[in-house]
């Protein structure tokens, strides 16, 4: 196929006047060396075509004028000047995306050409819970839905919250209780947040310092200093629940400190903490560094508990419905991909480098595949150590709110279901999952069992009052 007319439009030497059936010598020559400036892949061709048509239209199709002009001002200057007025990159990606959408038979309603915003910043804290958010970048899930996303590593949850509130992040990896707290204005200014999807279930652990190997009974933990990643975290609530079930008052008998996850191991080594309930890979890293051992996995406190989430502001959803929808699809798709056990080893490789988690790949693989060393001399095989399930059950939101009430993070009476339904977009997530061909539950409330005790989301206030140890 003669594609010489797609030669570099910014070069004074190129000739763009070859039409179909052109009879000039270069169009018929099979010498590929001569035309190395020409686009080779389909995508490059589309890009070049957009450039060429814009440049041609400026000079009214007069190729002699074009070359004269470029010779006078220089190719670089011309390109820069043009780029400052015409968003060439955006045009090219729009056309490429629409083309892909049409080819894949996708509905044109969600056409990528209508994305309000293509370049997004998404924050993450470097832990395995964020796997779907992180891996979507190196494994191309964002790209697949026409988005150009930068995933930005964040030092801790407070900073992630503030950068989200400041709109430096369009969306962010958060802990499931955070959007609830932010919406109610607990611990921050009140900004309506939504949580379209949960990232992971299970996947946390209680890790103790090696010197406590003989203190496996929580009753012996009086006076211990524990780390949790954030006040409004499942980690905090699960640790409190766990010690309270063993008769310790978490506010009086132990000390709970907020420590950003990446700093956990260093603090444990320094003896600043006796243990922590933290996200992986930092539990496994402590084992790997011979500093601590895994007392238990959180899946044994509450099988299938939610942990981290994907969240953004209500404002972002309202102003960018199509972008939001594409992003949502990418996240669900990636979450589903990570839930498949056979993909886990490959994911571990993709998210281990410095740009993402910055951890030894072997540590991440142990967390994701569930075949791990516990630091006590055993190799355990627990494929459910971490799971990925996007569906944000309203009942989970209600449970979190009951714990916030139980430990005094909210003082006033709250309408549990109303807040959970406002923030956790369960129905929307279910619809999206079905649209993408995955199974979704038909209800949004269910009963959960936590350490053998049943939680009925219909009676939250009664549930709070059923505990002896609570802030009264």
């Amino acid at each position: 196929m003669p594609v010489n007319s797609l030669d570099d439009p910014f070069s004074e030497k190129s000739d763009l006047s070859h039409g179909a059936g052109c009879s000039c010598k270069s169009c018929h020559s099979a010498d590929v060396e001569m035309v190395q400036n020409l686009p080779h892949t389909e995508e490059e061709m589309v890009n070049r075509f957009v450039e060429t048509s814009v440049v041609k239209s400026i000079f009214g199709g007069n190729d002699v004028k074009r070359r004269q002009f470029i010779r006078t001002v220089g190719a670089g200057v011309f390109r820069a000047a043009l780029l400052s007025v015409v968003p060439l990159g955006a045009l090219q990606s729009c056309i490429n995306d629409t083309k892909k959408k049409v080819e894949s038979g996708g509905s044109s309603k969600l056409g990528a050409s209508k994305l309000e915003k293509i370049k997004l910043n998404i924050g993450f804290v470097p832990i395995t819970c964020a796997t779907p958010i992180i891996m979507s970048k190196p494994m191309g899930f964002y790209e697949k839905y026409g988005l150009d996303v930068d995933v930005i590593k964040t030092a801790g949850w407070a900073v992630a919250r503030d950068k989200s509130l400041n709109k430096e992040y369009d969306a962010s990896h958060m802990l499931t209780p955070m959007p609830l707290a932010m919406t109610m204005g607990a611990g921050s200014s009140s900004v309506p947040y939504v949580m379209p999807a949960v990232e992971n279930i299970n996947g946390q652990a209680i890790c103790l310092h090696n010197k406590h190997k003989d203190k496996r009974d929580p009753k012996m933990w009086k006076g211990f200093k524990f780390g949790v990643p954030f006040e409004y975290s499942m980690h905090n609530f699960l640790l409190r629940y766990y010690v309270a079930e063993h008769g310790l008052d978490p506010d009086k008998d132990i000390q709970i400190r907020v420590v950003p996850p990446p700093e956990m191991v260093a603090n444990l080594r320094a003896g600043n903490l006796d243990g922590y309930l933290s996200p992986d890979p930092f539990n496994q890293r402590a084992v790997y560094e011979n500093v601590g051992f895994l007392h238990m996995l959180t899946k044994d406190i509450w099988e299938g508990h939610p942990c981290c989430a994907f969240a953004c502001s209500q404002e972002f959803v309202t102003n960018n419905p199509n972008t939001y929808s594409a992003l949502f699809s990418a996240i669900i798709d990636a979450t589903h991909f990570s839930s498949q056990q056979e993909n886990r080893a490959q994911i571990a490789e993709a998210i281990a480098p410095k740009n993402y988690l910055n951890q030894p790949a072997s540590v991440i693989a142990q967390v994701l595949t569930g075949k791990y060393a516990d630091g006590l001399g055993n190799v355990l095989n627990e494929p459910n150590r971490i799971g990925f399930d996007p569906f944000p059950w309203h009942s989970m939101g209600v449970w979190i709110l009951t714990q916030m009430k139980r430990w005094g993070y909210v003082k006033e009476d709250i309408d549990y279901k109303k807040i959970a339904e406002q923030v956790y977009l369960a129905a929307e997530c279910g619809a999206k999952m079905k649209e993408m061909g995955y199974d979704a539950p038909s209800t949004t409330y269910k009963k959960h069992t936590i350490m053998g005790k049943e939680f009925d989301p219909n009676f939250p206030e009664e549930y709070v009052n059923s505990f002896d140890i609570r802030v009264k």
Partner: protein, 275 residues
């Protein structure tokens, strides 16, 4: 031997002793075990453990980092050169801002003993506040993490400049001012031709102290806010318990700090006024 030669010799000896002791008391973290059980393998027995690196290891690491200081592998993994440039740019922005504000105000305060005494308590209270204490407030109010770190540098570096400028202006010899009066110089002329040159050495001391503080502050601020900069680099390597990188960046922070300090002290020589 001249005094200088002795000093150089002593310097080199100290350095060599430091290298040898450093190499002796640190380990390589190697735990290369052959025929590992599966448990040992999962415990990372075949790989290096986190450890305090010796000078040779740091040197090797420095060579590999400095051979490609400007690589850019995406938003969370950039070369040491890029990170340092980000930090220096932020320091310069905050520092220049405080120079612009502190010098004129310090001058005015110094001219009026009443002002000086009235403002003294506030300055003394604001001066010792740590940058990390300002950060949450700055993030909340300014709503931009880069501007917040610039603000924190500004607020921490302004006080020594302010105090030194005021002090320098105040302690200009009365004789000088009396001579100026006798010669019937206008007050503007007195300020620029008598007071400013006489106060310059003290002002430059303030500028130097402030520059040192700015460079201290940026590392702390970036560790907290993250994203880019040498502080973030240290934090990121700390997460991975990669102490060779941490030691390397500590050395780099030292060198850049020295460079910034000598920049000010050198320029002060051009303005120095001798009695």
């Amino acid at each position: 031997m001249t005094e200088n030669k002795k000093a150089i010799l002593l310097s080199i000896t100290l350095f060599v002793v430091f290298l040898i002791v450093g190499e002796l008391i640190t380990s390589t973290g190697e735990r290369n075990k052959k025929n590992m059980t599966e448990y040992e393998q999962l415990m990372g027995m075949g790989e290096t453990q986190a450890h305090v690196p010796g000078p040779i290891e740091v040197f090797k690491h420095a060579l590999s980092e400095l051979s490609d200081p400007f690589y850019d592998n995406g938003p969370n993994d950039k070369g040491i050169g890029i990170q340092l440039l980000y930090s220096i740019a932020r320091v310069m922005a905050g520092y220049l801002l405080s120079v612009i504000i502190a010098l004129p105000i310090g001058f005015l305060i110094g001219m009026s003993p009443v002002f000086y005494k009235a403002l003294q308590p506030y300055i003394q209270i604001l001066k010792p506040i740590s940058p990390l204490a300002w950060m949450p407030l700055a993030l909340f109010v300014i709503k931009d993490s880069v501007m917040s770190s610039v603000f924190v540098i500004f607020i921490c570096s302004i006080w020594p400049m302010l105090i030194n400028t005021a002090f320098g202006v105040m302690s200009v010899k009365k004789d000088f001012l009396n001579v100026a009066k006798t010669l019937e110089m206008s007050s503007l002329k007195t300020a620029f031709q008598i007071i400013l040159p006489a106060a310059l050495p003290t002002i430059f001391t303030g500028l130097r102290i402030s520059m040192g503080i700015s460079w201290l502050v940026i590392v702390a601020a970036e560790m907290l806010v993250g994203g880019t900069g040498i502080g973030y680099y240290v934090w990121n390597e700390w997460n991975n318990l990669d102490l060779a990188s941490v030691v390397f960046s500590i050395i780099m922070i030292g060198f850049i700090g020295m460079f910034l300090d000598s920049l000010i002290s050198r320029s002060s020589k051009y303005f120095n006024y001798q009695e």
